[in-house]
């Protein structure tokens, strides 16, 4: 079942693509991930009509996602809870193993490597987590937390070199060196997130996966952390895979945006294009739902129903049950990502047929 068109076929349709021969830093091809809901073998056995049958149920968290992340860009993945955006991040980082598909980093496959084989990549790709209250080990001091990755990846460094590096990285995220002897719980959410960012930056990575790094923080602190991430990108030439549900942040931060719904990508576009002309009906509904400061009266597109469960995926387009433009074809045929002239790719029959 090929839910999404192969990207190489797409590339040829994009006119005037100067980076065509430039290799993407991270390539995700047809990634799928399902989680079993049925427990181990014995728990899967059921009596049905007098016979013992094996029944397995799955949560289909990702269903054929293909993404390319170019060097130096910030690719934002947006979507609502349960759309699989965090699962993509965790599969990319090797925290979960994919059920199918390929992940290539700098041309080499990394999706089926052992943790030992992954070790050199751990230095090049790092991750920032959502909850700064859970991402720091409560029994370790800040100094220990920051030294640990350095000692692992640079076993030849002496003590002074490790300390100097920790001091440097602490300064670069704006935390005072005398914080080192303290524990995580002595700091506020924003300060902890700085420490978590420092830990990720300590090994000088080139690629960072940020999984909702600011959504647990207060508004004024969000701005600080977002600035920090942008400064780090400029100073260290980082590439980001940025997972978020906040479209305002995406508009500000992202180079390109991928909108996900129920484990599939429904639209990928350069940020400015997406915000100027959202094409997919789901993207349009999502954008209209952002509470704006200007108008007094919310004028959002009302979607009927709720997000279906990823256990029993709808046939055809996953969005058809809530889509105001759905027709018979949407109920049967899975839409493929189709490239448009302005550089966006949309997976929607209505857009393809020109109905929308």
């Amino acid at each position: 079942m090929n839910r999404v068109a192969q990207a190489p076929a797409l590339d040829s349709q994009i006119p005037a693509a100067p980076e065509q021969d430039r290799q993407a830093l991270l390539e995700i091809r047809d990634l799928t991930k399902r989680f079993s809901l049925s427990g181990d073998f014995l728990e899967q056995l059921r009596f049905k009509g007098g016979k013992l049958v094996r029944k397995q149920e799955f949560v289909h968290a990702i269903n054929g996602v293909s993404l390319d992340i170019q060097r130096g860009e910030a690719l934002c993945v947006v979507g609502e809870s349960g759309c699989g955006k965090s699962t993509v991040a965790r599969v990319v980082m090797g925290l979960l193993s994919p059920s199918g598909g390929e992940i290539r980093y700098d041309g080499a496959r990394i999706d089926s490597l052992s943790s030992r084989q992954l070790l050199p990549y751990r230095k090049r790709m790092q991750m920032i987590f959502q909850n700064p209250y859970a991402s720091l080990n409560p029994r370790m001091t800040i100094q220990q937390t920051l030294e640990e990755p350095l000692r692992l990846h640079h076993p030849d460094w002496d003590r002074q070199k490790v300390r100097d590096k920790v001091e440097e990285v602490m300064a670069s995220v704006g935390i005072a060196p005398d914080w080192g002897k303290r524990f995580g719980h002595e700091f506020s959410g924003g300060q902890r997130q700085r420490i978590a960012i420092a830990r990720a930056l300590a090994v000088d990575p080139e690629f960072i996966v940020a999984d909702e790094p600011i959504s647990a923080l207060d508004v004024s602190i969000q701005a600080q952390v977002l600035n920090l991430l942008m400064d780090a990108q400029r100073d260290r030439h980082l590439t980001y895979l940025f997972i978020t549900h906040d479209l305002a942040v995406v508009e500000h931060f992202g180079t390109r945006v991928a909108v996900m719904y129920l484990g599939t990508v429904c639209e990928i576009a350069p940020t400015a294009t997406l915000f100027a002309t959202p094409r997919h009906p789901y993207t349009q509904a999502l954008m209209s739902a952002i509470p704006k400061l200007e108008d007094d009266r919310p004028q959002h597109i009302r979607l009927s129903g709720e997000v279906p469960t990823p256990v029993n995926l709808p046939s055809g387009c996953v969005f058809h049950a809530r889509c105001p433009h759905a027709n018979e074809r949407c109920r049967i045929e899975i839409p493929r990502l189709i490239a448009k002239e302005d550089g966006s790719q949309v997976a929607c029959h209505a857009v393809e047929e020109g109905r929308l």
Binding site: D40, R90, M93, G94, L95, S115, L118, L119, R122, K123, Q126, M127, F129, Q130, N131, A134, S135, L136, N137, P138, R139, M140, E148, P149, L152, H153, G174, A176, D178, W179, K181, R182, A196, R199, V203
Partner: protein
């Protein structure tokens, strides 16, 4: 940028400002229990210097002075403050020595339980899958044997292979082994549950993303964060182990009468209750109850302090 004006607190300052100490200062029952428990421990371990006689020394036993009552009853000998037992040993001395034996067995058994239980629980919780299934079924099987059955089986094997004199000689070690083996699943289950909770936290993911190996994540990251429930159940387990030891000794499966623990003292006096020498059983019994009660009350307090859900109550 907000900076901290206050200097980094030292370890002592952290302890001084901790909720632990704060709560201790405000809970008189905890203070009282700790005082009684600590004095019992000190007295028991100083028994060789404090006790008027050495009950293990057969030369000091005077069979003619058997079954003398304690000092407040007529007919008491002022040499024996709490009276004597059926063999004429000084009851005070033998209780001091017996308490020491009970405490050694209690702590030793809990140490063994914790060692086995924490290791197995950590492995089961962190590795999951088959290791988890295997270790937890093992724990279930272990729990279906009572301490008594383990004692009988181990006792029978040791006595059959190495002789019963060997068993009595190493009775303390044997009891530690028996109670330790019988009750490790308590630890394993507690630790497994909190490992499962900790494993899903992001700092463990962060450690994996960093590239750390499973062993280092387990022992450096997960284990330190699962220790507070271990500490809480340890208090209860010490009390349980002391009671288990007393029960085994009472049934004749534990400490021999030549080196009695509190349990075997109670047993040895039990036959003489009918003849009116109740003190041989009752006084060690009271000591046992006080010891176990203080440990349990301390355990209750520790649980209240360490249970974050009760923090704000």
């Amino acid at each position: 940028m907000s900076t901290y004006a206050s200097p980094t607190p030292t370890r002592w300052a952290r302890f001084r400002d901790s909720y632990f100490l704060y709560s201790f200062k405000r809970t008189w029952s905890a203070q009282l229990c700790l005082a009684i428990f600590v004095s019992l421990v000190i007295i028991a371990f100083l028994a060789p210097w404090l006790a008027p006689t050495d009950p293990y020394d057969l030369r000091q036993i005077d069979i003619l002075a058997s079954e003398l009552p304690p000092f407040w009853i007529a007919g008491a000998d002022e040499m024996y403050m709490l009276g004597t037992d059926a063999q004429g040993r000084d009851l005070l001395s033998i209780i001091l020595y017996g308490t020491r034996v009970s405490l050694i067995i209690g702590f030793g058994a809990v140490l063994l339980q914790a060692l086995l239980g924490v290791t197995f629980g950590l492995l089961a919780g962190y590795l999951g899958g088959r290791v988890d299934a295997l270790l937890m079924r093992l724990a279930d099987i272990q729990l279906s044997f009572s301490t008594l059955m383990v004692a009988i089986v181990v006792g029978a094997i040791v006595k059959a292979t190495l002789g019963s004199s060997f068993y009595s000689e190493y009775a303390v070690l044997m009891l530690i082994l028996i109670i330790g083996l019988a009750e490790w699943p308590q630890y394993a289950r507690t630790v497994r549950a909190s490992v499962l909770a900790e494993r899903s936290k992001e700092y463990v993911d962060a450690a994996r993303v960093m590239g750390l190996g499973s062993r280092r994540i387990m022992f450096r990251h997960v284990l330190p964060n699962t220790l507070s429930p271990v500490f809480v159940i340890s208090t209860v387990q010490i009390a349980n182990a002391i009671i288990s030891e007393a029960a085994l000794s009472f049934l004749g499966l534990g400490m021999p009468e030549t080196h009695p623990s509190l349990g075997s003292l109670i047993k040895s006096g039990f036959d003489y209750i009918q003849s009116g020498s109740w003190w041989i059983t009752l006084i060690p019994g009271v000591v046992l109850v006080v010891l176990v009660l203080t440990i349990n009350l301390l355990g209750d307090w520790v649980r209240d302090v360490m249970n974050p859900r009760l923090y704000k109550g």
